[in-house]
């Protein structure tokens, strides 16, 4: 009992230090976003703005269609997540519960697909979207993000479904719930953490995707934030203050989202650890 308080003090100190390290860059982002443009290139750099330019957060909306970019990002990430889930859940469930011919091949396909990065395929993706007449549409971005995140979701859900004892479902089935009923009433509720993990992973990587969006979209009102943000630095001009203001505007809602689902996340992330 005696060493307990010391241990807690130590843990708290380390914990808060770690938090500070993780937040420091974003604090700097915030401070930079409040500098007037002419203070940006002062050398050596200043810790705080000389003039606190809160107006940057008003002016930035005039420089880029941020609402639209944000809506595009949200829609692409949101719908891609739904599409991924709709495709991944049946596949993961079936391959976790049944042995069938081609199961190994399917799981291998999933693992191999996971290794392709959109970066190396941009031109091919663009050509494909041309053929499908989908260039400069959100649907193109949705499909690409859904497809490239599908493997991880199948994988993690497969692991999660496998870890749920078959007997649980059998019991519900015998109680007269029916196969599908058993699935919905027993298996799915238990799998919520796994599903949340798949959702978060897909959402985040779609939210982060940059190269495909840059290549496939051409009108500003169909470009996500990741494309809009670096456009504050062009060859001749650098509006770092706006770049960082926009970044923060984009980060905050996602962090809030995380705060709400953090609990589920921790349960779900073990899912891939197939037993």
């Amino acid at each position: 009992m005696k060493r307990r308080p010391l241990r807690v003090v130590l843990l708290t100190a380390v914990g808060w230090l770690v938090a500070l390290v993780f937040l420091a860059p974003y604090l700097q982002m915030f401070l930079t976003s409040l500098k007037p443009e002419r203070e940006l290139n002062k050398s050596p750099g200043a810790y705080l703005p000389d003039h606190w330019q809160w107006n940057n957060y008003v002016d930035v909306w005039k420089h880029a269609p941020i609402w639209t970019n944000m809506r595009v990002s949200l829609v692409v990430a949101g719908v891609a997540t739904v599409v991924t889930l709709v495709c991944a859940m049946p596949a993961a469930y079936y391959s976790a519960r049944n042995r069938f011919r081609g199961r190994g091949a399917f799981l291998l396909l999933i693992l191999v697909t996971q290794m392709f990065a959109p970066t190396s395929l941009v031109v091919g993706i663009f050509r494909e979207m041309v053929a499908l007449n989908l260039t400069d549409t959100l649907l193109a971005l949705i499909l690409v993000n859904a497809a490239f995140n599908l493997p991880f979701c199948v994988w993690i859900l497969h692991g999660y479904f496998s870890s749920i004892p078959k007997e649980l479902e059998e019991a519900a089935f015998l109680d007269g719930a029916g196969r599908v009923g058993a699935l919905f009433r027993v298996t799915l509720p238990i799998s919520v953490p796994g599903v949340v993990t798949a959702v978060v992973y897909t959402f985040i990587s779609a939210w982060n995707e940059f190269i495909v969006a840059l290549t496939v979209t051409s009108s500003p009102n169909r470009q996500p934030l990741t494309v809009a943000i670096p456009s504050f630095i062009t060859q001749y001009q650098e509006h770092w203050q706006y770049l960082f203001a926009t970044s923060l505007i984009a980060i905050v809602p996602v962090v809030i989202l995380f705060v709400f689902i953090e609990r589920y996340l921790i349960g779900g992330l073990t899912a891939g650890s197939v037993k």
């Binding site: 770690v18 938090a19 200043a46 395929l121 970044s247 989202l257």
Partner: protein, 313 residues
């Protein structure tokens, strides 16, 4: 869609042996469940992959016009590039270094986040932030902080008298690589440490209870019980990290652009620059193919070492 049609088609002809039909039917059931996934992957992923392979076999002019089949010419050109070997070696250092450091730090962070102390939830939220911010934004703020003239890092180090004149961090290939790897670790930590944390939470408390009764010290408990039980979590986290780090583009792109020349390129940025800066489109296609084979080999070697088959059965 397709599988439904196939199934119905199989149903029409008069069946001499229902057992055969039944077997076909049973063989098609998986398609119902797996179909959407397979279609999505085939259309959206495999199509560009085929394009990629095709590109690597064609000859292109500098404008991007195709001049027809080029055989293995693009690969010969690629292997003749004097930058290729350094880029490959650098990629290996990049992947191995980042993944190992990330895993070690994440194991520690996982423990920290699993321990009880006031403000733990807030600390968890703080660690999530780099994951919520897109990698590109994080890379840009680091580039800004590392700026030679007005960067915060130089300012702090100057004020602490660690350095006596500003250091142009991102201009020197070695320093730049170290910083970029640090940033890559920084953005990989949230996901990885949460996987570890989740793994820790699946370990039942009575296992520790038993160890305590046996009189095992904290170190022995950790290496004897915790780490082995974390194996699945470590396995999945490291595979995902190997793939993501290998394919990582925005960090290098935003911070050094792979320069000066190709001194900080990994295969992914090199491939991009081959096509769009050096105007060798076919060679870039060849690099993409090589790139894929590399990550394939890396993951297979890792899985073999970790005996993944046993895990999945």
């Amino acid at each position: 869609m397709q599988h439904v049609a196939v199934k119905r088609g199989a149903g029409h002809p008069p069946a001499p042996r229902p057992s055969l039909l039944g077997r076909i039917g049973r063989a098609l059931v998986p398609l119902l469940w797996l179909g959407p996934s397979i279609v999505l992957i085939a259309v959206v992923v495999l199509w560009p992959v085929i394009e990629m392979v095709r590109t690597s076999l064609l000859k292109f002019t500098s404008s991007g016009t195709s001049l027809g089949f080029h055989g293995t010419g693009d690969f010969t050109d690629l292997f003749a590039e004097s930058d290729l070997v350094p880029v490959l070696l650098r990629t290996l250092v990049w992947v191995v270094g980042i993944v190992i450091v990330t895993m070690v730090l994440s194991l520690a962070l996982g423990q920290l986040l699993n321990a009880r102390f006031p403000g733990r939830r807030a600390v968890r939220w703080a660690i999530i932030v780099p994951w919520a911010a897109s990698v590109l934004m994080t890379a840009l703020i680091w580039r800004w902080m590392l700026d030679n003239y007005s960067g915060l890092i130089n300012r702090v180090l100057l004020d602490l008298h660690v350095i006596d004149k500003p250091v142009n961090w991102l201009a020197h290939p070695h320093q730049a690589m170290v910083w970029m790897m640090a940033v890559a670790v920084f953005v990989s930590l949230p996901f990885t440490s949460f996987v570890i944390l989740a793994g820790l939470q699946t370990i039942p408390a009575d296992v520790y209870e038993a160890a305590r009764v046996d009189g095992a010290g904290p170190l022995r408990t950790y290496f004897g019980i915790t780490l082995p039980l974390l194996r699945p979590a470590v396995l999945i986290a490291s595979i995902i990290n190997v793939i993501n780090v290998f394919n990582s583009f925005p960090i290098i792109w935003a911070m050094t652009g792979g320069g000066p020349a190709h001194a900080t390129d990994t295969t992914t940025t090199y491939m991009y620059k081959l096509a769009f800066n050096d105007q060798h489109i076919g060679e870039s296609g060849a690099m993409a193919v090589v790139n894929f084979l590399l990550v394939l080999v890396m993951v297979l070697v890792y899985l073999r070492a970790a005996r993944w088959r046993e895990e999945v059965r």
